[in-house]
Amino acid sequence: MLFATAVFAPLLGSLVALLFGKQIGDRAAQAVTIICMILAAICGTSAFVSLVYGGGAPGVITLATWVSSGDFSVTWALRYDTLSAVMVAMITFIATLIHIYSVGYMGHEPHGSVWRFFSYLSLFTFAMLMLVTADNLLQLFFGWEGVGLASYLLIGYWYHKPSACAAAIKAFVVNRIGDLGFALGIALIFVVFGSITFDAIFAAVGQHQNDSYSVLGGTFRAYEVIGVLLFIGAMGKSAQLGLHVWLPDAMEGPTPVSALIHAATMVTAGVFLMARMSPVLEYAPGAMAFVTFVGASTALFAATVGVVQNDIKRIIAYSTCSQLGYMFIAAGVGAYQASVFHLLTHAFFKALLFLGAGSVIHAMSDEQDIRKMGGIWKKIPLTYTMMWIGSLALAGVFPFAGFFSKDAVLEAAYASHGGFAKYGFWCGILAAFLTAFYSWRLLILTFHGAPRADKHTMDHVHESPLVMTVPLMLLAAGAVLTGFTFAHQLLGEHWQHFWGAAIHNGPHNHVMHDMHEVPGWVVALPAVVGLSGIALAYIIYMGMPALPAQLADRFGGVYRFLLNKWYFDELYDRILVRPIMALARGLWQVGDATIIDGIPNGVASLTAQGAGRVVKVQTGSIAHYAFAMLIGVVVLVSLYLIIR
């Protein structure tokens, strides 16, 4: 019951705040949601501890029937195993801190509206919890769409801002494109397995190995098609290359929302799906190669874009995109455990970085452009320290959390066989260099050098209140500790003991073993490139502050290409948004109004003219009428004979 409490307490908080927020006021709504979240975090952590360390047994908690039609039947049920327990503990812990932080961050909002924000935050958490604890794909889809809704509401929280509304719609619609793939994947799983409940699917994996499915003019193994369709869903939610365009815009929402989206909820859903469906995906090598390829490309692409951005949140947003790429590299080579490990450590340091950025923005009177910052590290030393810790973890510096998980991902990629895995490894190495570089670019431009903000803003620079800094410190502790605390348990020799049956590695998948046997240079390389990235950023931005502008001038084309994020938005606008809107107007005004309505209106006027002629035919002569009738009968009879 601990587990169920952890899942449903946020829902309770959200509903109370939503339905009674107006009556009880902001303070009470904040108190209720936070108490529910703390309760959830305590229950979630206890459930995790008792399962993994207390010898608890995994199981399924069935709540009620949901959809039932013929042989299609699913229930509302919570699945309690290591994967879901570890996710629940992480989500509830981080979401609780984000709730608490928001009390301070949203303190300047007009009173009487903040209850809405807290209600949405809790709803977001609940949807994500439903997603990770689902016992069947349809319930997972419920959570999946639920986080979509909550993110829409939160990104568009400042609904007066047109950019926020646009970003909210973009997030929902782009996600929906992925969701269509996911829904089709679920349908195919039902057609192949006759069930969409995890236990039933996993038990039958052996029997359908050679099932095939025809689509796109070819016949493929059904597992490969399933894998690709599910991954299309994951691409939407986890912002992989092509469907990533919503994520950077999602920072239009208040900063705590960005932290929640980028760290604990939403974007991790796709990675989770890969781990959850590992028993099937293990037998879809083609699909998994595709996963690695897309993940690796995303990791590199997003890192290149992050290098030149100037908005503090946008840089961090692209780093999320890039880190998600790492997770998919690991999942694609079969090291789901490494992928989930990176998800966990990333959750801590990314939440830390976003909330730290929020603290900076808060201090700078809502300025987000790092070109207008600088010279503030002495004024907000605590935030500065936190950002350092977050960046060290992100860059993968020993002994911070990212070091362990990023190394694990890259070692797994190297240890795995095949060209895609190698591609993943080298993209990952390159991205690691760029990650370290842009992280220190951000740190130096934000905190060091001469102040570039106006005096008024500079006078106001102040450290955030305790309600914001305490969550930062707790997250920082996570960003330092989660790496070496969990690395051994999750990936060490006793990893099977930790994971139990929650993640499946196929009989020919030895990556969990092989990743510990890679050559020494592979282990050292990520750390080396990371440190050189830091060094380069230090040299350029501390030593030669004029150089970046010269480089941007010199390589203007490349610079603009990166600054405009490889022109993805412009491309989609040209080839999708505008043509579709033009088509929509065309179908309406030409298709409906002119053609379809034109025919009946034409018929109507023909009838009117015809009636006039008929009047002339009515001559009054019986012979004429008889002749007309005869012709009619002949026509009818001959029609009848011909057609029958």
Partner: protein, 510 residues
């Protein structure tokens, strides 16, 4: 009268004709105009509430384990022609009777203040409409069905033509001609069936095997009638005009119940009576439905009028229904039925949402609004819920039907499922775009700065719809259980019928 009626009294006839009695009473009200209007409103509300309360007997007493017709009533009518007055419901129809009886009191409440002229006649027309709708879903004789099916047209025509907007006459006539044109062909089919089977009893017709060649013609005749009613692409253009001009309550009933008549007709006649033609024409229906989903969703995206946008979205949603029906598997048909019910509730609610702001500002122009969230938080919340249900968010009514149809369609063909589900993406686009332009943003117009949030009466109108939307999404089994047995029997019978014709034709069935 049949003694085996589960209710112990002629429940369905009572449900059908009680509104007519109430209507007659209303027409007898005399006195000063204001008093007449007020009395007519209350009399209509009470009549419809009593009818709804009575119809709940169906909910509680319906035997969900049986696939057959229940609450059957029979009375001799024209015995020499083989025509009887026969009423009864099975799993396919029972919830539509309830949908009709539930929506009518909501509509009457919604028209409380917005209908100011000829209130008595309005209420009368509405109650006559209820009689026709309930009678149509409960009829078990083709002739009785046909009379109600056509009868629905008359009050609806009047509702649009008398209480409608500026172009009401054009819209009413277009509505009437389109739907009538199809119906005439159905009359021919009725005659042909009667001639072939010697009876117009629907269960008898279901048991009759028509020759494949005859089936083709009958199917086309039915198709002409039902496709217009659904409406399917490309005979859908009467719908946006009718919706735009109809008063709010008229739109609610039009979207909520009348659009279901076509799909219901397919399920009652085409699929069970004409299995070979159903199989033969299914690809054509799929093609038209997929076009409907994509085409009308795109057209919805370009709309500048709120009601037109929702009207076009209805066509897209009904496209999903027709796909589901013609997959003729359990998920497909069950999903289609669910989608019909949920669309009845959700699109009805969306038209009511438009009605709320129309009553205040007297404009349906999307650009006329913006920033309503500031002044109307309750309204914004209700509108959000119904928009999400329309988009098909899991946990709301709209998801279950769409998903079951997706599964059913997937069993037929990947592309049918993929293209038929494009509404998932396009629906999100047009609904959120609408919501953004109406609810989000800042208030710029003066009259919007003082616009009032939902009144207690309006909350009473929305509350049952909110409950239904969530209930249907979270615990759909309480609805699907009604038709599981009937759908199962229908699918089995269809497969058996196809197998027998293949055998007759000498084809070896594997």
């Amino acid at each position: 009268m049949n003694a085996l009626n589960a209710a112990g009294f002629p429940l369905l006839s009572l449900l059908t004709f009680l509104p007519l009695v109430g209507g007659a009473v209303i027409m007898m009200i005399r006195g000063p105009e204001a008093a007449v209007a007020s009395n007519a409103r209350w009399a209509a509300l009470w009549t419809s509430l009593i009818v709804f309360a009575l119809s709940l007997v169906l909910w509680f007493k319906f035997d969900t384990s049986s696939a057959g017709f229940q609450f059957v009533e029979e009375a001799a009518w024209l015995p020499q022609w083989g025509i009887t007055y026969k009423m009864g419901v099975d799993g396919i129809s029972v919830l539509f009777v309830l949908l009709a009886t539930a929506l009518v009191p909501i509509c009457i409440l919604a028209s409380w203040d917005s209908i100011e002229t000829r209130v008595r006649e309005f209420m009368f027309a509405f109650l006559v409409l209820e009689t026709m709708m309930v009678g149509m879903f409960a009829a078990l004789d083709f002739v009785v069905f046909y009379m109600f099916f056509e009868g629905v047209l008359i009050p609806m025509y009047l509702l649009i033509g008398v209480w409608g907007g500026p172009r009401r006459v054009y819209a009413a006539i277009k509505f009437f001609l389109y739907t009538l044109a199809g119906s005439v062909l159905m009359l021919l089919a009725l005659l042909a069936m009667w001639y072939a089977a010697g009876s117009t009893d629907i269960p008898t017709l279901m048991a009759t095997q028509f020759k494949p060649a005859v089936q083709t013609w009958l199917f086309l005749a039915f198709f002409a009638s039902f496709a217009v009613k659904v409406p399917m692409w490309p005979v859908h253009t009467w719908l946006p005009d009718a919706h735009v001009e109809a008063p709010t309550a008229g739109s609610v009933i039009l979207a909520g119940v009348l659009l279901k008549m076509g799909a219901y007709g397919f399920l009652r006649f085409s699929v069970p009576m004409l299995p070979d033609a159903t199989a033969y024409f299914a690809p054509m229906i799929f093609a038209l439905s997929v076009v409907a989903v994509i085409y009308t969703s795109l057209v919805a995206l370009a709309q500048t009028d709120m009601k037109k946008l929702i009207a076009y979205s209805s066509v897209a949603h009904m496209g999903v229904v027709t796909i589901g029906i013609f997959t003729v598997n359990e998920q497909g048909i069950s999903g289609a039925l669910f989608q019909m019910l949920s669309h009845g509730v959700v699109s009805g609610a969306l038209f009511l949402c438009v009605g709320v702001v129309y009553d205040r500002i007297h404009s349906r122009e999307i650009a006329r609004y913006g920033g309503l969230a500031d002044r109307m938080p309750k309204y914004a919340l209700a509108f959000m819920l119904f928009s999400m249900a329309s988009v098909g968010l899991p946990g709301t009514a709209g998801f279950v039907g769409e998903f079951l149809v997706l599964v059913g369609a997937f069993k037929v063909n990947f592309w049918l499922a993929a293209l038929g589900s494009m509404g998932m993406i396009l629906g999100a686009a047009y609904m959120l775009y609408l919501y953004r332009r109406v609810i989000f943003g800042s208030i710029t117009r003066d009259d919007l700065k003082s616009i009032m949030d939902l009144s207690p009466r309006e909350i009473a109108v929305f509350a049952p719809l909110v409950v239904l939307t969530l209930w249907m999404g979270i615990y759909p089994s309480s609805f699907t259980v009604f038709w599981d047995a009937s759908v199962h029997a229908m699918v089995e019978k269809h497969i058996a019928a196809l197998a027998s014709t293949s055998k007759l034709a000498g084809v070896i069935v594997p």
